[in-house]
Amino acid sequence: MAFVARLKPRVIGLRGRWPSQVHAPCRMYSLHPAHHTTPEHPLRVAVIGSGPAGFYTTYKLMAKIQGTKVDMYESLPVPFGLVRFGVAPDHPEVKNCQEKFEEVASSPDFNFIGNVSVGTKSDHPDGLTVPLASLFRHYNAIIFAYGAAQDRKLGIPGEDQLKGVYSAREFVGWYNGLPEHASLNPDLTQGDEAVVIGQGNVALDVARMLLEDVDVLRKTDIAAHALDTLSQSRVKRVHVVGRRGPMQAAFTIKEVRELMKLPDVSFHPIDTALLPADLKSLPRAPRRLMEMLAKGTTATSQSPSETSKSWSLDFCLTPKAFSSSSPDSTQGQLASTTFERTTLSPSPFDPNAYALPTGETLTLPSSVAFRSIGYKSTPLPEFSDINIPFDERRGIISNDGHGRVQHEERTRGAEMSHGSFPGLYCAGWVKTGPTGVIASTMENAFATADAIIEDWASRTTPFLNGDRKCHGWEGVRSEVLARGDEKRVVDWQGWRRIDEAEKQRGKESGRSREKFTRTGEMLNALG
């Protein structure tokens, strides 16, 4: 029985209360440890999401467990997630990781299953939806790598009602041609002052899009509608506002340097009281960043009066309200943003300092505002049926830090038990929360792959469906066909056709690519 005792924590995933359809989880958690070494039974994996986390996990898995068959589900007809829809168009070098993804996809053991949403109803009418429960029946392992598709909100007056208040996530999606936000059509013509709330790299991307010469963007794969709107923009002055100081800010030095180097754009000096007096004693990364901010402050180059556009990092301000100039300040067009000044405790130089309110307010005129205070993952609707725990506070799937989906349960003896769900893993932002650059997502995805490899090699760790042969997408597809659902599924060859068509469109307009911004257009390109 020693075996049982050891495995028990992993079994506790079967909670006391069953979902209504008792038979389904029963089949989901067939607990036979897989142990037959038969070539006909390769590890069958479903990856949900085709961004860098999904691809890097797949890459490592396929490289380390030979014969692994991976089906990658993507709700859009096109792959690459935030590499396509998040990375700024003027950072094409960051998108070079797609070459690696292409290589992964060229394996005969890899299937791209595009235009298929898992668990959540497809956000476009042409998309197919398959239930998560269906995947449970046809794979040994499922990797959740669907990222963070929502954003955190400020929860202040005017945020939802006023014209001119946008989510940075939607704005980024819009200029990158994400179908969901293709109709955002932000109005940049109401005045010359813009406010970006948040000081991460997304906030700096938004600022750069507003400040950069449109002719530079013209050569990129930025969405055509964004070029039109940005070329008519009246924005001349961008405030990038944060609750805390430079020592606590989330942006990285490369993004700041890029903004500092933009031609005909100047930087307003920051409050040097927020910088430690002795920069030399700081560790390397914050030292270089603080030195740049200090230098930007005393730069002899161009002052804001000499350039047509300018920007600033405004520290120690917490947003309180968006207001219009009409009598009911929460209706109509945004005119100003009110902030409360904060003070940093225990010290402005402590990287973990808290922002405390001071009661003093400041109002910045603003004709357009972007909230950029972080992305947020959400659980798939079926998680509650299957009892997959979602940490709402951190916005992640509860996991053991290596990517094994975990649950906590108070058992009869009131003892808290932890355990992993057999065969369930997560990677990327839905595992870690929405932070980090591609390099960190890559390492993190590799860690998830390592966990799966370790579990598979242990020979005792249960996976989904035990010894039963899994048919992967074939099995899921037969269930879809039985339902009579006839939506188009895009395979890798299909994506290549869309890719070619976009490049061809780009060639005609002298650009690297002209993205389709509607799923209908993408599907039409399949021929």
């Binding site: 029985m1 075996f3 049982v4 079994v11 006391g16 209360r17 069953w18 029963c26 958690y29 607990l31 036979h32 897989a34 037959h36 070494t37 070539p39 390769p42 890459y59 396929m62 490289a63 380390k64 467990i65 030979q66 014969g67 070098e93 960051v94 070079n96 990781c97 070459e99 690696k100 292409e102 060229s106 394996s107 005969p108 990285t252 030095i253 490369k254 340097r257 700081l282 560790p283 390397r284 990364a285 914050p286 270089r288 990287p351 058992t411 009869r412 870690t432 929360g433 980090g436 650059v437 591609i438 390099a439 960190s440 890559m442 390492e443 993190n444 860690a447 598979w456 090699a457 020979r459």
Partner: protein, 198 residues
């Protein structure tokens, strides 16, 4: 709350299979099966699949693990006889790989050509930190041209940054660097730890 019936049954079933498993475990790595898989692999290797996937994915024995990456990269020409420069990589498992290379090759291309575990997510364009290497000898480090701002900006984001860290894509082999030894940093699992701690 009592243990639900289904869970009890599952536990019983699991107990049976655990016992069953312990009996069969010795057969799972039988030599004949392994050699069969190997033969199959070798045959496929000889066929040279036309895809970019250079090592064929044989239908390998279940739960078998390969020790090396199945992907190969890097475009470097072998050095001309008599013109070899040597560089040694110490990988994440502390194994050393001494390689003969040509002048001008960069460390990322060299590592990938020799199937060492080094990513170059941005394709060697100095826009990420995935080809981070740690030069083992200060004197060698000093012989290299200093990193520029772009490289330093990326190094700032690298895990396990040291005083002699460089990006592999930016270090080109020269005569002065003959005998260079670099270590590939072993990544920590916890990547949420801020690099920003004093």
């Amino acid at each position: 709350m009592s243990t639900p019936r289904v869970l009890r049954q599952s536990l019983q079933r699991l107990a049976q299979h655990a016992r069953c498993y312990s009996k069969t475990t010795t057969t799972t790595t039988s030599a004949s099966l392994r050699s069969a898989a190997q033969t199959q692999q070798q045959q496929q290797q000889q066929q040279r699949l036309p895809t970019a996937w250079s090592t064929p994915f044989a239908a390998a024995a279940r739960r078998s693990l390969s020790t090396s990456s199945a992907l190969q990269h890097g475009h470097v020409d072998p050095p001309k006889p008599g013109e070899e420069l040597y560089v040694t990589f110490i990988d994440k498992d502390n194994h050393t790989h001494r390689l003969a290379v040509s002048a001008g090759d960069n460390l990322l291309d060299i590592a990938q050509a020799h199937d060492l575990e080094m990513e170059g997510a941005c394709g060697g364009s100095c826009a990420c930190s995935t080809c981070h290497v740690i030069v083992q000898d200060q004197d060698m480090y000093d012989r290299m041209p200093e990193p520029d701002d772009d490289e330093n900006d990326m190094l700032d984001l690298a895990f396990g940054l040291t005083e002699t860290s460089r990006l592999g894509c930016q270090v080109h082999m020269t005569k002065e660097l003959d005998g260079l030894v670099v270590k590939l940093p072993s990544m920590t699992r916890n990547l949420q730890a801020s690099d920003f701690k004093p």
